[in-house]
Symmetry: C2
Subunit: 402 residues, 2 copies
């Protein structure tokens, strides 16, 4: 096996066009998928729904006389990046990867400028394919913690995962034939920012792309997901309105149905069920945007606009709030709200919990979302009529902000 | 239905012997069990395994001409307590309830004496039957947070839960006939104590009893579970040895096999899988002690000894550590360890997560286990050779302490 892989690597070095190389039989991938990435499982649970109608011709592996080890999707993409770079003609995988890495740099720079402190940057590889870049700023001047992470994952879905996905994505298993395994690609940018000042809200954002590969390496099923939501400890209506208006503007530019649908989805997803309240004042959340909703180009344009709107939407809010005076009691209230944020992330968030339950996951990247500090006070109740009570009331009864 | 219940209540007031009253058809309970308590679900997931061999004659409901509302197990027990009090001849349900409530008082008094501050005491009722007493001391002199809770739950297991349990407890469904529903009783005492001083360890303890009812109200399947474990931020070997020795002494008095078996079970259960380390330095954890292991009387005696040993085991450790000097960095390390405690409780602990996912649960009683404060620092690693590093090494490789 090792020598077969060496041969394949050699072919790579010889700049053999990946499309000409034979594929390793998909069934040989199965064993490695027991440790499928949190991303894959997240995608499997949180990021599917609608399906693409591209047929997957599963058993199309080309047999070569030498029975040489085939090139994986990751190998082919790596090859293509080296040989041709990434352009608008490249596969969406490469374009999405390039875009989110650029945005990560851009966001990190903007937040560093605002804070004055620097992010720590960790690049990591995933044994099974792909890797990521985790950027974290901790105990800064403005931010208690800010994490901006990019993951690019190549992997193989095992049959049970395909079976699960095929319930909502019929053409992952065309004609009802479920393959033993299927190569996939997943890439996303996630960020969470917890400011120090209790008047400045926490924000979360995630944009992601998922696709499965046809045996020839072209994309099979694909979909985008994403969104952004705001979690204040103290509610300033003007901030909530501005945040939602900016998101609505981005949505409306692409589809007038998006904002109302994704706003509702957000309120439903970021719901701390056991507390009977939303995590924050919402924003947008969506998944499964595929060709049954819009075409790939236009959806990518929407994703790009959404992600690009983050800095111009969030930074003005922080600028207004970061210097406001606050009391010790207000800081304490922020800490209690942080505790509920932790509860959502560890109990209800599908991405986090599947990640943590996946062997070999990079736990520090997943838990970068945790606040630096949090508190739990038994039976803490805000005073009736207080600002704290008003926040809770809004969290229990999500408002229409625009 | 309301008037039928009134009739039953009236009969109760008339001191009708519960055994003479007819039972409400079990099938009428099914709808109310969709909100079965976290305790019931916990018992269903974490507290079963072996089974009692008492046959359950499920369809034995007595039909009365008036079709009067029957008395539930809770009604009967309430009646019996009023009429006869609780003695050694009473059903185990009543004896266990009495015992854990006495112990709760005893433990609360002992911790108050040590701390100087008082516990807040909340009594609560469970709509579906039973209730509890939650005692919490917060931000005291010695303890950051101490919670001692008793729950006594009467409820009805729906068919899917019985089916699930019957995999390990065959005589919950004798002859393979799974009833549509089954009354159950569950009672337990849980406590968690988080001291302020980082040199003093957090401790957790839980002892519980579960049984299902035969149609005549006598007990069907039954089992005990419990244990106690210690979570230091700074490891003092002498404390770990003393804690384990005390638990071993209690175990050995009843069965020489208990300690090694339950010590191992504890290391396995309180394992923060995603961190690859145990929550703390362990103790004992067990479940499913029923008549296939020991008889009910002897098992209750073991449970009593275990619970009674808590104060004499833990208090001396706190007395030694509560006044020790510590640095800011050591306090910070404690906060990081607290974060991992939160992770275990919210991600892996079956009792907590089923509780939180159960509608109508008393969330504040479940999350009383949370520390007052916790912290998450991205990529925090203890210095090689430090006391912090030694703790982590022991958490990764559980030791035999006695």
């Amino acid at each position: 096996m090792a020598s077969r892989r060496q041969a394949a690597r050699f072919l790579l070095q010889c700049k053999l066009r990946p499309q000409l190389a034979s594929r390793r039989s998909l069934s040989t991938f199965t064993s490695s998928t027991s440790s499928s990435s949190p991303w894959a499982r997240y995608a499997g649970f949180a990021a599917f729904g609608l399906i693409a109608s591209v047929p997957l011709t599963y058993a199309m592996a080309v047999t070569e006389p030498l029975s040489m080890d085939s090139l994986s999707l990751a190998d082919r993409d790596e090859q293509q990046k080296k040989n041709e770079g990434v352009s608008e003609a490249s596969p969406m995988r490469l374009r999405m990867e390039k875009f989110i890495k650029e945005q990560q740099d851009h966001i990190v720079k903007a937040l560093e400028e605002l804070d004055g402190a620097k992010f720590r940057k960790d690049e990591w590889q995933r044994k099974e394919g792909g890797g990521g870049i985790t950027c974290c700023l901790q105990d800064g001047n403005v931010f208690e913690k800010a994490g901006v992470g990019v993951s690019v994952v190549y992997g193989t879905l095992p049959k049970p995962a395909i079976l699960k996905m095929s319930a909502n994505h019929k053409n992952i298993a065309p004609n009802g034939e479920v393959p033993d395994s299927l190569e996939f690609f997943a890439a996303g940018l996630s960020l969470i920012v917890h400011p120090k000042n209790p008047m400045a809200p926490t924000v979360h954002l995630n944009y992601r792309y998922f696709e499965t590969a046809k045996p020839d390496g072209s994309s099979g099923a694909w979909w985008f997901g994403g969104g952004s939501d705001l979690t204040p400890s103290y509610l300033f209506d003007e901030d909530a309105i501005q945040f939602h208006r900016d998101l609505k503007d981005v949505c409306d530019k692409h589809n007038k149905d998006y904002y109302p649908k994704f706003k509702k989805w957000c309120d439903e997803y970021f719901y701390n069920k056991h507390r009977g309240e939303c995590r924050g004042i919402g924003g947008i959340f969506f998944d499964d945007i595929d060709e049954t909703v819009s075409d790939k180009e236009n959806t990518f344009a929407f994703i790009q606009d959404g992600l690009k709107s983050f800095i111009p939407t969030y930074v003005p809010i922080v600028l207004k709030r970061k210097g406001m005076p606050f009391t010790e009691a207000e800081k304490e209230w922020q800490q209690i709200r942080r505790g509920k944020y932790v509860e959502f992330n560890l109990v209800h968030d599908r991405g986090t919990s599947f990640g943590l339950n996946t062997p070999g996951a990079r736990v520090e990247s997943i838990l970068m979302s945790m606040p630096l500090t949090a508190s739990w006070r038994y039976m803490h109740e805000p005073q009736p009529g207080s600002r704290e009570a008003r926040l809770v009331e809004v969290l229990q009864n999500p408002k229409e902000w625009v």
